[in-house]
């Protein structure tokens, strides 16, 4: 035992660091990097995973050309963009609003925070299933509440091509606004009080305090929350599948749902690998630009 300790003691700091890092590196290589490289390789072939015995042929950029030239893929991207943009806008506004509200000290603050945070602790599949009941035009609570304020009559949120894209936005916003709220709340609580005290000495109004102190301080936190939500929603799958199955028709078929259908229902492995690479590059590209912008804002 002693000799083992001695041997360990004889190692350099660099060697010890490598010992600790190596298992993680191996896992990363096995779980992330190898499949990524494999998928990139597959994306240049006409491989079908279900056609046993059929050797994949190299097809060059054919899959990429096909995807980028396909009108339907752009439709799916538009549907995804609609979903991502609106959920981010709503979650930013409502999340920040709730955080400002909960940053005040009042009775029941902790209970309210717990209740607001509950939706994001549920499984997306469960949320999808119970919102289908809430949206049910005959017995659902959603129609009842809307009709309570204004009589729209019977309307089917998930059966109408106009309303269905909004139905998924509403559910995602309901579920994930608490996440944005929590991050913003952390930002708000990190603002030192003396800044507001100094502003008050300078006779700054509440609005000026919000614009010049609160917003700039909380913005990096909000942007970080939106980055996480943006990446997640770009890949959104389970919640929408449970809620609408991508329907009616293809009105809510997000890019990720289409990718799953191509990859694991049609088994077009080569084609779907190319599609996955395109989606990965898109997220990666947007993510990088976003982080750069975020850092600039933070540095200001």
């Amino acid at each position: 035992m002693k000799s083992a300790v001695k041997k360990f003691k004889g190692l350099s700091d660099k060697a010890i660091a490598w010992i600790f890092i190596t298992p993680t590196l191996i896992l990363l290589l096995a779980i992330n990097i190898y499949p990524l490289i494999y998928a990139i390789r597959m994306s240049f072939t006409n491989f079908y995973a279900n056609k046993i015995g059929r050797e994949p042929k190299f097809v060059g950029l054919k899959n990429y050309k096909k995807i980028l030239g396909k009108e339907e893929i752009w439709e799916k991207m538009q549907i995804t963009a609609h979903f991502v943009c609106w959920t981010l806008i709503l979650q930013a506004l409502i999340g920040l609003g709730l955080a400002l509200l909960l940053n005040k000290k009042f009775k029941g603050n902790e209970l309210l925070t717990t209740l607001i945070v509950l939706p994001m602790m549920l499984s997306p599949a469960v949320v999808g299933v119970f919102w289908t009941y809430l949206y049910n035009p005959q017995v659902g609570l959603f129609n009842y509440v809307i009709n309570f304020f204004y009589d729209f009559g019977v309307f089917d949120m998930i059966g109408s091509s106009t309303l269905a894209p909004w139905s998924i936005v509403i559910v995602d916003t309901w579920m994930w606004t608490p996440f944005t709220m929590l991050i913003c709340l952390a930002g708000l609580r990190s603002i030192p009080n003396y800044m507001y005290e100094a502003a008050e000495v300078d006779r700054a109004s509440k609005w000026q305090q919000f614009i010049h102190i609160t917003l700039p301080s909380v913005l990096p936190f909000l942007l970080l929350a939106l980055l996480f939500r943006g990446i997640e929603n770009f890949k959104m799958f389970d919640l929408v599948v449970e809620l609408t199955s991508g329907g009616p028709g293809s009105a809510t078929e997000l890019a990720s749902i289409n990718l799953k259908r191509e990859a694991f229902e049609k088994w077009k492995t080569g084609y779907s690998s190319a599609f996955a690479v395109i989606l990965f590059v898109t997220i990666f590209g947007f993510g990088n630009v976003y982080v750069k912008v975020m850092n600039k804002i933070k540095d200001r």
Partner: protein, 436 residues
């Protein structure tokens, strides 16, 4: 001491050996629905006869194809026996997922002539109609209709219907009559509750709306391809009659379905019917024993085969039982199949609520009177038509689901455009598969 030890050790050994004797087991995969429970009950007899334990994995319908086809494509040995959908037979045979059964049938005196020809053609053969068998017909099924007989028997409704349409309110003989009856009940208040016409298939995710719309398309006389020129679909699948049938189905959805019935298949249709929302439900024969058994509180159900229009036809359901080629217990699985093919077991299968395809059962003089839906089942099995059974059937199913749902539920474009686009998608699939 030795005596004391033997008192404790011997029972442990006895238990170990008894467990070992019972260790022989088979795993059967199927969808999670009423007939699966009946099969589980029936299989207890197999265990009693052979000592082989039967394990079952029943997967809910929406995930059934995904789960099973993934298992087969990964050459998994979870299942020894699989009751797979009729459309899977092509992939099962071509990709080597299923064991070819001809030699086994010959060696054990199992003749396909003993089974209903339509079921043998649909569930067992590949290439279609050839004497190459990859499954034993296990569960005959077709898409049919249930209706509220108790409402139909009400004199005031009968007279109102007759004065409005000029013929009796009863089992519809055509889709036009079905539409008249559905709209007659749509929004009608019966016993103080608003009712609707019909719960029809509109599901988007798996195969629901395709199975529903083809019930109409077959009745309008649609063919998938030119019989003399395989895979040539233009003018057949998108014929005027086929487009008219799709338009009619959309009309049924708009004028007869209950609100919110935009993504409905088997369970949703059953729920709408059982909760008293609708006068009609479209569904598989497999569910009728349960529906009939659960008639209560004045509900009386009637059942009928898919109505005719230009021709008489029905959408085929049902499955054959196959031995998975990746199973390590193929011999044992074949033993189960041999047992299941026995006429006495087939009779018990029908008695328990399974739909036997054995001619001894179907041809028995008592069969028609053995259940209220038996005659309808016989009628349907004589006129069934199935979706493509090609190895690429999933690739063929998905665009049809999307295009038809887009038109019927979403109201996008026209029926003709939807069918034209489906043909384009299918041609692409057949081209990739080297068929055209």
């Amino acid at each position: 001491m030795k005596k004391i030890l033997s008192i404790f050790i011997l029972p442990v050994f006895a238990l170990f050996f008894s467990l070992n004797v019972k260790a022989e087991s088979l795993t059967l995969g199927w969808a999670a629905w009423d007939p699966a429970n009946a099969l589980q009950e029936l299989s207890k007899e197999f265990t009693a006869e052979t000592g082989v334990d039967m394990n079952f994995e029943f997967v809910p319908w929406p995930n059934f194809a995904d789960r099973m086809l993934n298992e087969l494509n990964n050459q998994g040995s979870t299942f020894d026996l699989l009751i797979g959908d009729s459309q899977w037979i092509g992939a099962g045979a071509v990709y080597g997922h299923y064991v070819k059964l001809n030699d086994f049938f010959d060696a054990n005196g199992i003749s396909m002539d003993d089974f209903n020809p339509a079921t043998v053609y649909a569930y067992s053969t590949w290439p279609k109609g050839s004497p190459n068998y990859y499954a034993l017909p296990a569960m005959g099924d077709a898409l049919a209709w249930a209706y509220r007989k108790d409402w139909f028997n009400r004199p005031e409704l009968q007279s109102e219907f007759k004065s409005k349409h000029g013929y009796d309110l009863g089992v519809p003989k055509t889709w036009d009559e079905l539409y008249d009856m559905c709209t007659f009940f749509q929004g009608r208040e019966i016993d103080g509750v608003v009712r609707y016409g019909a719960a029809i298939n509109t599901e988007r995710g798996s195969e629901g709306i395709t199975m529903g719309v083809t019930a109409a398309m077959y009745a309008w006389g649609m063919e998938y391809e030119d019989p003399n020129n395989p895979y040539s679909m233009d003018g057949y699948f998108n014929s005027d009659a086929a487009a008219e049938a799709v338009e009619f189905y959309r009309k049924m959805y708009e004028d007869c379905a209950p609100p919110g019935h935009s993504d409905a298949y088997m369970v949703a249709n059953l729920d709408a019917y059982k909760s008293g929302q609708v006068a009609f439900q479209m569904n598989w024969y497999a569910f009728w024993p349960g529906v009939y058994k659960e008639d209560s509180d004045g509900r009386e159900s009637g059942f009928f085969a898919n109505p005719c229009q230009n021709v008489c036809a029905a959408t085929l359901g049902g499955q054959g039982i196959s031995v998975v080629s990746y199973s390590e217990k193929q011999d044992l699985a074949l033993e189960y199949m041999k047992w299941f093919a026995r006429p006495d077991i087939q009779q018990k299968w029908w008695d328990l609520g399974g739909y036997s395809c054995h001619m001894d059962v179907l041809g028995s003089p008592d069969f028609v009177d053995s259940a209220v839906y038996a005659q309808g089942f016989l009628d349907s099995m004589g006129i069934v038509k199935d979706f493509w059974q090609e190895p690429t059937f999933v690739e063929l199913m998905l665009p049809m689901q999307e295009r038809i749902h887009d038109y019927v539920v979403n109201g996008k474009g026209s029926a003709k455009e939807a069918l034209d686009k489906i043909i384009e998608d299918w041609e692409e699939v057949f081209e990739a598969d080297g068929k055209i």
